[in-house]
Structure formats: C-alpha cells, structure tokens
C-alpha cells in the first residue's frame, strides 16, 4: 500500500506542479516510477496528509528556512490555515510581492505538498482548536507542529490530541469539495503562468482494496482524487448490486474505530494517511428486508448479518443461533443430504461466537426441516428471523451519561436507544428528538417536552473523544435522514449562522431507494453464494489491512512531517484563488481562508489578529463575499430556511451544567467562544477587530426579553452589513475561518426543520408527535414564559473601527390578523451600541436595554439622538452618553398600524412557543423571533423581524427597508405588517462628509 500511495501522490504532484521548481520535481518524477523507492518515500510522504516525511523537507530545506526567516511571510502564514497556505503556494505565480518570491523558491515543495496539503491540513487544524484561544500562537504552533510532529496523527498520540485530530479530519472532509474546486481554479491560473510546463497531465491512480461481505477482496485502481462515490459505484458494479443505498464503505482508523466513507467527498481526504483499504458493509439495515426488491440485495444483507452474529455484534439466543445457522446451511448447501453431509459437515461453518457441539447438532436438526427451500427462500427466512432481534441494525457507541455511568448509545432506524449493560434504559424515537449536536467529546440531544412539561430538555452524553462524538453525530444524522425523511436535506448554508459541521447525509433515503428499486427491471441476476466457511473464519469486522498497524503508523508519521513542510512553503500562496473558491460552494469553511487572503492586501497584520476572534464566534457571512449588495439582499433567507438553521437562538430557561453549553443556540455558543477570544485579545492588547459577536450575545437577551413581552411568535431578523471594504471582507474571512475551527468541535442537526410533509408519515411514532410537529416547525425553542413585562428589543450594532458609519435598523413586526392587540409598543426601544475606538482597539459595548434602562459601559463620547415617531405610549428615549471619537446621530421612526393596541403588555396569554432565528449576510443581520401564544382561546403568532443593515452611504436604506418589508410580506402572506420601526444611526462626521 505504501508504495502505491506514494506513486499516486507523485502523480498528483507532477500534474499540479507549476513550473518554477520543476527542476526539483523532475528528479522526483523520475523516481516516480513504481519501482523507485526514493520516489515512493518522498511522494508517499507528501501525498499523504500526515505521512510525508523527510524527503520533502530535504528537497526544500533552504526554502523553508527562508520563509521562516522572512517576517512577512511569517505573518501571513500565521493567519492562513494550513490548507490555505498550500493554495497560496499555487497562487504564487500571481502577483504577490515578497511572498511570491519565497513561494517561488519553495514552489516545488509546496506543489509537491499540495496534494498533501489537503491532508496536511488536518494537522494544522489540530492546532486550530488551540488557536481559538490564541490564534497567533496557535498558528505559529501549527507550523511547528507540522514540521515537528508528523507523529501526532498517529494513533498513539491521538489520545492526547484526539480533539485536535478529530477536528482536523472533520474539517478535511467538509472542506474537501471546496478545496478541490479551489485547486482546479488554481491550476488554471498556474497554467497561465507556466503554460509550457503544465501541458500534459497524467492521471495518477491508486490501488485500493475493498473487503467484500463474502470474504473476498476486490481491488481496483482509482484516480487519486476520486470521491467516495466512485469507489462505491465500482464495488457495487462488481457485486452487481443495484439496491446499494443500504450499503457503504468503511475504513478503519484502528480495529475499533470505523468510519463511513463519505461518497460525496474525496477519499484521500477522508482516509488521510490510512491505507486504501475499505470494507463493504451494510450501513442502513432495512427494518423489513422483505421489501427489498432483489434477492441479491437480501443475500448481501444476510452475509452482513452472519458477520454480525459471528462477531457477537448481534446477540442471539441459542435457539436463534441454531435456527439462523440452519437457514444459512440451506441457502448455501441446499437440502440436507444424509450421504453428502456427514456428521461433521457443520463444524466447518461458524454460526455463533461460541459454537458448541450441541448447537451444531441443533443446526443440523433444523437444517433437515428446511427441505425444499430455495437459497433465496432460505435467505428470506433468515432475514425474517434476524430482523426481529432486538439489536438488529443497532449501531452501538460507548458513552457515559451525565453522571459518568457507562452506557451504550444505539442508533437505529427508529431512533436512539440507551443501554446500560444489556438493559434498555431509555429510548428516543426520532420524532422526539429536536436537535442532535456534539461539541468536543460531548454529544447532545434535545428532546421534546414530555406531556405536561413545558420545556424541552437537552440530554448530554460523554463520549470517549471528540472523534467518537462526531462519528456518533454523523451516524445519527444519516440514520434520521435515511429512515425518516423522504429526501435528504440540503446541507446548511454558510450564510446562516451555522457553526460546526455542515455534514448532511447526501445519499438517497429509504423512501427514495425503494422508489428507485421499484423501477429495477432486470432478470434476477445470477450470483454465487459463497460458503460461510470462508467468511466465518477470518471476518470479524476488522479489515485485514488494518491488522497491520505498523504500516498505518508509518504512513501517518511520514505524512505528518510532509504536511508540516508543505505548510511552511505554502505561506506565500495566492489569494485570487481563494476568492474563487469562495464562490464555489456553500461549504463555507473552505472559502473562508480565501477570503482572508483577498483582504490581506488591505488589512494590516493587526487586523489579522482580529480574525481569530471572528473565527470563534460566527459563521456569519462566510459566503457572499464576492456578491454585491443586491445579491446579499436577495439572499436573505426565507423564514423557513431561517427556522431550519436557527432554532437555537434562544437560550433555555434554566440551563444546567450540560445544557449551558449545548442548549444555548448556536449563536450563543458562538458567543461563548467569541468571548473567550475577546478576553484573549484584551490580554494581548491586540488592536483591531470588528466584532460581530456582540450581536449574538445580544440576541440572547433579546430572545428572552421578547418572549417576556407577550406575543406568540416573534421573529427578529437582524442584518448587519458592514460596508467597510476592508473590514467587511476581513470579517467574513475571519468568520469563515472560525467556522472551520468550529466545524471540528461542533455539529448540530435538527431532525425536524423539515416541513412536516417531508417526514414519512407512516413511520411516525405517535399522533401526538405529528400534531406537535406542526407547531414544532415554528416553535423550536421555548424560551421563557411571558411575565407580562414589556418587550424590549435590544439591538446592538457594532461599528468597525475604521469607518463604519451608517446603520439602519429596520424592525418589521408581522402579526396574524386575528390578533389585533398583541403588538407591543414597547418594542420600539432600541439599543444602540457604539463602537469605541481606543488606541486602535475597538471595543464594543453591549448594552442590554431594559425598557427604560440604558447601560453604557464604555467611555462615552458619542452623541446619540433618538427620535421616536409613533403613537406608542411607551417610548423611552435612549440617549447614549459620550463615546469617544465617533459621533452618531440616531433616529427612530415607528410606523404602527392604528388598529393595534399598544397595551397588549398587560394582557398575558399563554406562551405556546417562542423561537428566535438569526441569519446574517455581509451587510445585514436578520433576526427573526417567532412567538406563539394562546390568549383567550385565540392563537396568536407573532413574528418580529429585526434587520440591521450596516454600511456606509452607499447603501440605499430606503430601498433596503422596502425590500425588507416586501420580503416579510412575501414570507408571510397571511400575516399583516403591524408595525415598522426604523432606527437610523449615523455617524455625524461621516454624514457631513457625504
């Protein structure tokens, strides 16, 4: 394997290499010939993420040193995620001053490492986590790590750094697609630069092995960058299998940790330095195998189950072992033949983990009773019995509950099962689960409130490590999608503040695959049933290749080094590419890095520091950087989308230890991290950073406050747009990068965002659930019980240091018509936050505005004026005191439909649900708060949208307002707009200039 891998890598290198360093490459290429060991080593090391060892380094030692020595390159490289660095290297050809030079010098290395770079990213990512706290240090550390610690990836080290590693892996996976694209772009550029050299590209292939269910091995050559789907399709073709959606390919990190190969992503990036050895397995066990269309499919399922049984994964009683064994015999040997089947014919087969003479006798006895069954019938009988086993199709994961008790979590078609020892102690059917998430090594599910309970509860489990948590999470997401949805759900888009993994199941659902198999129109394919003898002996779930751990280790070790080297080289890389990458995909994380680069020219190093902060808090604006304002506006999420992505904005009423982390909406979580970052920043006294985080924080308060208010469903949508050319991009980039880091740690999934119709009705657990679901869609978060207090929307707008100036806040309140009185007049209160510029440090002031309370925490110099135009009785003037340097003018205009009675406050209804959704694009932040209340028998849904548009004078605020209102109407045609509050804050100086 090693050799093979190496050759592949080399191939890639060649194709990718730009030119400048070709000379160096060429020698390597020459060595590429399969036989050459040197080439192997080098290539393998480079090619594989972690496994590129010394050779690469050697080739370009001087270059590395150079980079390190040169301050600029360092600075840039620091900020760049490792993979970005690689990209940079590609881009070097483009116009980059110093970095270029360096890059050119090192291009060879870089290029070589490019292929590796992706893989190498993993390591850098490791450091990313740490970076969150201290980015600079972390980045620097990354480098060091790369160069120094190729070994980290190795299993032995994993314990200590599991989290990091996991994160890395995840990142890789998620970003693979994007990266690819980026790369392509880059190559194009490269071509331009080095046309002559580039021309002929060879497609290099890697040989991979797949262990099949019958114990045989399938080998094929794959293009090195092939996605999982390619291999999977090949295998299925080889097996003549059409109903393939129930199956998947596994790769093992070690004998215990198996991972499903994501077919939508590049194989190489998933397996990293592992050998290209896979195991073909059943991934989704059909609850009713008789509904499978083809016998051949059932046959493979049988093979899988036989493995499961023999390995002990699927426990059976003695009788069942015997019965299933007898069907196996019938299927493979046919009718019992006393002459042919001597007394011991059975002992060649294995039916159970602990097979006894008695069992074999029983099997033989039962075998005789199956006379006349065809193999297919015997298989069917086998499955009919196996499917009733309680552990059929249950994927078990070790975990501990909140009290540290060892338990097992079992994922199956119906939901999540909790076992303690062998006893089932709880069960959460999919319809009961509102959200699945993980953070670090914790896995959380948020479940519907039980009857008579008002609040959802979040239950946390501790998994052995981060990777295990992510793996469990992914399995849950996949099972839920496959068994409960009619069609897979689109991965979340970056623009909606989603943190964490974007992973979604991308294959067909059971419903879809059933539909598809109905169309299968071919004569039943002939296939040979291989004897269980073979299977039983060797197989035990662990792939053969894996057994050779030393091999794996070597790979990883080498890869690690190589990666490190590459990273260093990459620093100078191109930025244009980054930009392009940004457009390509929704998978924001990859894009991020690119964005940053784009900005680099404008952004000072200080700025960079700011990035770290962003990284932490939000995924805001990952996308759309290239887009125009108009585009951005268009992008505003439909409410449904918002809901989907954001059921989490509101904090739980009383979070406990676990919940604190988990329950809090993404935004909140983000906040937490951002806070951390902020602290760090302060400590370091780093100067600039635009802070969007504040918004998030505020949101929390807002959510609560609004709920308290009274209305049923209130949606607040905030859009914060920053027009600062420099600041904007940087922000976005930083945010994206942050999302990356977050990816590793966090993943969330809401089983119920989907429209009700999408869920397969037949499979619903109970009617109650269904009924609730309708609510659920809108109501994912019960925030707080209305206390009758006045609603106080709080808005925080933060101004970036450089010049943010214009801010428009548009609040659109939409109400169902039947609720005439629900609108609060209090809503009008808006908070303004001024950003302070202090010695280059921008501090943001979070102001929570209670109805009449204004807190200004920062040194005041800003003049704020608030003009309120409305009939609302309760209008509080908020005057902010001084904030240095920035002078601001604030106007608040409220349009309210006359019919509304502002005194709804006192009128307390029963809060049914409340939800806050937040989405952000570059220039706008939209917060949607939906509250549902029952008041005097009338159900009232109130949606309040808060849109914050931030930007300079270029923005047509009127248009934006009109647009916002229009959208609100479109999104809720059956609702009426009851109130519009426009709050305008302008920096005086700026205005003057304008």
């Amino acid at each position: 394997m090693t050799t093979e891998v190496g050759s592949e890598t080399e191939v890639k290198k060649d194709s990718e290499q730009l030119g400048p360093d070709k000379a160096k490459d060429k020698p390597e290429e020459a060595s590429e010939t399969p036989g050459d060991q040197k080439s192997r080593e080098t290539s393998s090391g480079e090619a594989q993420d972690s496994s590129v060892p010394a050779p690469t380094n050697q080739s370009s030692p001087s270059s590395q040193k150079k980079e390190k020595s040169s301050p600029e390159s360092k600075g840039i490289s620091r900020f760049l995620p490792p993979w970005l660095k690689k990209q940079k290297s590609y881009t070097l050809a483009e116009p980059k001053d110093e970095p270029k030079k360096k890059a050119t010098g090192e291009e060879q290395v870089v290029e070589e490492s490019e292929s590796q770079a992706l893989e190498g990213v993993a390591q850098p990512r490791k450091s990313l986590e740490e970076a969150t706290e201290n980015r600079q240090n972390a980045k620097a550390g990354d480098r060091e790590k790369h160069s120094i610690s190729s070994a980290e990836i190795q299993p032995s080290k994993e314990d200590g750094k599991e989290t990091e590693v996991e994160e890395v892996a995840e990142k890789k996976e998620e970003k693979q697609e994007e990266k690819r694209e980026t790369k392509e772009v880059q190559t194009a550029e490269i071509k331009i630069d080095n046309i002559p050299q580039k021309s002929p590209k060879k497609i290099k292939t890697v040989q991979c092995k797949v262990m099949l269910l019958d114990g045989t091995e399938y080998s094929c050559d794959l293009e090195k960058r092939a996605r999982g789907q390619v291999l999977f399709d090949k295998v299925c073709e080889h097996l003549n299998l059409l109903e393939k959606d129930y199956f998947g390919l596994l790769f093992y990190e070690n004998s215990e940790q198996k991972n499903w190969l994501d077919s939508s992503k590049e194989i190489k990036r998933q397996i990293r330095s592992l050998p290209w050895i896979f195991t073909f397995n059943v991934k989704f066990y059909p609850p009713d195998p008789s509904q499978l269309t083809e016998d051949i499919t059932r046959y493979f399922l049988c093979l899988q189950l036989r493995q499961d049984i023999v390995s002990g994964r699927l426990p059976c009683s003695f009788v069942t072992h015997a019965l299933l064994g007898s069907y196996t015999l019938q299927a493979e040997l046919g009718d019992h033949d006393p002459e042919e089947h001597s007394s011991d014919y059975i002992s060649e087969f294995q039916f159970a983990p602990n097979q006894t003479q008695e069992m074999e006798e029983k099997v033989a006895e039962l075998h005789k009773t199956h006379r006349g069954l065809t193999p297919a019938q015997a298989d069917s009988q086998f499955l009919e019995n196996a499917k009733r086993l309680s552990m059929y199709g249950v994927d078990l994961h070790h975990a501990k509950d909140s009290e540290g008790v060892d338990i097992m979590l079992g994922v199956c078609a119906n939901g999540l099962l909790i076992y303690k020892d062998r006893l089932r102690i709880n069960r959460f059917a999919w319809p009961k689960i509102l959200k699945i998430s993980y953070k670090r090594s914790n896995f959380y599910i948020k479940v519907r409130p039980a009857e008579l309970e008002q609040f959802e509860s979040t239950i946390g489990f501790k998994l052995p490590n981060h990777r295990a948590a992510k793996r469990l999470w992914k399995v849950c997401v996949e099972h839920h999608t496959f068994f409960r949805l009619l069609s897979p759900e689109q991965p979340p888009k970056a623009k909606f503040l989603t943190l964490g993994s974007k992973f979604r199941y991308s294959g067909r659902t059971q419903a879809q695959t059933r539909q598809a198999s109905n169309l299968i129109d071919r004569p039943a394919p002939y296939f040979e049933r291989t004897s269980s003898k073979r299977v039983s002996r060797s197989l035990d779930g662990a792939p053969m290749g894996i057994s050779d751990q030393s091999l794996v280790r070597d790979f990883s070790a080498t890869g690690g080094q190589a990666a490190g080297d590459k990273i260093i080289d990459l620093e100078a890389a191109g930025r244009a590419k980054l930009k392009e990458g940004g457009r390509e995909e929704d998978e924001s994380p990859l894009k991020t890095p690119q964005l940053e680069f784009t900005q680099d020219g404008k952004i000072s190093s200080l700025r960079v520091d700011g990035e770290n902060i962003y990284v932490r808090h939000s995924n805001l604006m990952l996308e759309d950087l290239d887009k125009t304002q108009d585009d951005l506006l268009k992008h505003q999420a439909s409410i449904s989308e918002l809901k989907r992505n954001f059921m989490e904005s509101t904090p739980e009423p009383r979070p406990n230890e676990w919940e604190k982390r988990r329950i809090t909406p993404l935004s909140l979580q983000t906040q937490g991290s951002s806070h951390e970052t902020l602290d760090i920043v302060e400590e370091k006294k780093q100067a600039e950073f635009g802070i969007e985080e504040t918004l998030v924080v505020d949101e929390t308060n807002k959510g609560k406050m609004q709920v308290a208010t009274d209305a049923g469903e209130t949606c607040k949508v905030e859009h914060v747009s920053k027009k600062d050319s420099s600041s904007l991009p940087s922000d976005s980039s930083s945010s994206s990068s942050s999302s990356e880091s977050e990816d590793e740690e966090v993943g969330e999934y809401h089983p119920h965002h989907r429209a009700i119709e999408e869920v397969i009705r037949e499979e619903q657990e109970d009617e109650e659930d269904m009924k609730r679901k309708e609510h659920e869609e809108n109501t994912q978060h019960v925030e707080a019980i209305p206390e009758g207090s006045k609603p106080v929307p709080v808005e925080h707008t933060q101004v970036t240091v450089e010049d943010l100036v214009h801010e428009n806040t548009i609040t659109v309140a939409t109400e169902e018509k039947n609720l005439s009185e629900q609108i609060k007049q209090d809503v009008g209160e808006e908070k303004e936050e001024e950003q302070l510029k202090l010695n280059g440090d921008v501090s943001h002031v979070d102001i929570d505005v209670a109805p009449q309370l204004i807190c200004c925490s920062e040194p005041p110099v800003v003049k704020t004026e608030m003009v309120t135009i409305s009939d609302a009785t309760q209008r509080t003037e908020i005057s902010t005191k001084e904030i240095p340097i920035v002078q601001t003018e604030t106007k608040t205009i409220t349009y309210e439909s006359s019919q509304l009675d502002g005194n709804a406050v006192g009128d307390t209804g029963v809060l049914v649900s409340a939800q806050t959704i937040t989405s952000e694009s570059i220039s706008t932040t939209t917060t949607t708060h939906i509250t549902k209340m029952v008041k005097g028998g009338v159900s009232e849904t109130r949606i309040e949208k808060r849109i914050v548009i931030t930007g300079d004078a270029d923005i047509d605020h009127d248009e934006a307002l009109a647009q916002a209102i229009k959208e609100a109407k479109e999104q809720h045609p059956d609702m009426s707009v009851t109130r519009v509050v426009v709050h305008k804050e302008t920096e005086l100086a700026e205005e003057d200039e304008d």
Partner: protein, 286 residues
Amino acid sequence: MAGLGGGLAAFGRCTHAVVRALPESLCRQALRSVAGPEVDLARAEREHQLYVGVLRGKLGLQVLELPADESLPDCVFVEDVAVVCEETALLTRPGAPSRRKEVEAMKRVLESLNLNIVEMVDENATLDGGDVLFTGREFFVGLSKRTNQRGAEILADTFKDYAVSTVPVHDSLHLKSFCSMAGPNLIAIGSSEAAQKALKTMQQMSDHRYDKLTVPDDAAANCIYLNIPSKGHVLLHRAPEEYPESAKVFEKLKDHMLIPIANTELEKVDGSLTCCSVFINKASEL
C-alpha cells in the same frame, strides 16, 4: 419453525402449564403487602381448583401441578420463580428470601419438560417473575422491591433475542400487579397514576406500538391471555362480581373467548391471576 417465538401470531401459544397447590400456611404466613382479612383457605382452594380446571379442562392444557410445601407459604405463586420464553426457562432468585426454595420444585418440573434451564445464581440479583412482562416482542422488567437491576440484566442475558427494558415500580408489589398482556400487541393496564406512568415508560422504551386496554381497577388489569389453537384468543380475567367495571371493559373484546375467574382470597396476599401459573409452549409436543 417458529423462530423467535414466531412473531405475534404465536404469542400466547402454550401447551403446558405449571401450577402448585396452596399450603395451609398460606393463610397466616404468606407475605402480604397490606394487612387485612385472613384468607379463607377453603374458598381459596375452591377458586384455585376452578382456575386449574379451566386450564386443564376448558383449554386442554397439560397442567403440571406441583404439591404444596407447608414450609413455603407463598409457593402457590409459581410465576415468580420461573420465566419461560420459548424453549428457555430462567429460574429466578426471588426477592423475598423466604421464597428462594420454591425454585427447586420448579426446576425439576421444567427439566422434565426438556427446556433449556438457566439459573440465576448471582447473589446480588433478585427477580420475581411477577415483574416480568413479555409482550411477544420484548421484555419489560419492573424494578421493584423484589426485582433489581442485576436480576434484569441476567434476564437480558438469558433471552438475548429480545430487548429488555426496565420500568420503575414503586407503589405496587410487581409490575404485573397493574398490567398484563390481554392479547397480541394489547396491554391491559390499570387506571391508577402509577400504572399509567409505567405504561408511558413502556411506550417510550418500545419500538413497537402497543394497543392498550385500560381498566378501572389495577388488580383487574392482571389477566391471562392464551392462544389456544382450537379456541383462538382466550382471556382469563377477574370476575364481574369482583370488579364489575373492569369486567365490562373486558367484555368489549369481541374476538376473545372470555373466562371470568374469581381470585378474591389469594388477592388478599397479593396474588393475581398470572401469579398462579407458568405457561410453556413445547413445540415438539405438537
């Protein structure tokens, strides 16, 4: 072959029943959760004979009747000492130390039926059969004063094919003090808060959807469902004289052959209908 119990169609099938005569010591020495009137032994015996008569005569089961043991006042309640599912029998370790010896006689008779016998030898484990509800698809084990987690684990190890879920039982002696199976996929459940709560727990834990038959009286929710080839669905339930309102509920079961049986005397010592028998389905006997 009826693998895995043959699914729902085979639920309630049985060929044999094990019962045990009541000792005279029962009247005064039998364990009871609530002090109350003394058991009328003569009447208790009459009721028990009627019970056995129904199984043997009316339903045609082979009834194996163990002799009473005066040193074991609770020995009539055979259900607690053995859990039989398909061809495997788990001999329990009853939660009440005074009852542990009841197992011996049961062991002998089950061995005679050629069942796979599993004994609960772990001294930390306790399990009363009255806490074990087998639905045909899975087991629910009540965690009560008589049954602990370890006992449930051993049961789970014994019947590996089935999910075994635990249900807390607080206010009554056994899980089956307020529920039982009244048909395939049909759980009879009492109306008390504790019973309803337990039902909720079971519903939550199960992958299957059970129908429920709610009866006003918890004690009446303990009934015996059998699937007798020549009779179809058979349900032994408490007599209308005892629980008239609950009896009316049972009478709505159109597909069942209903057999009211009085159990007034044994009820005084926490006895219910299911307590007095262990049912076995010997496929080979067919």
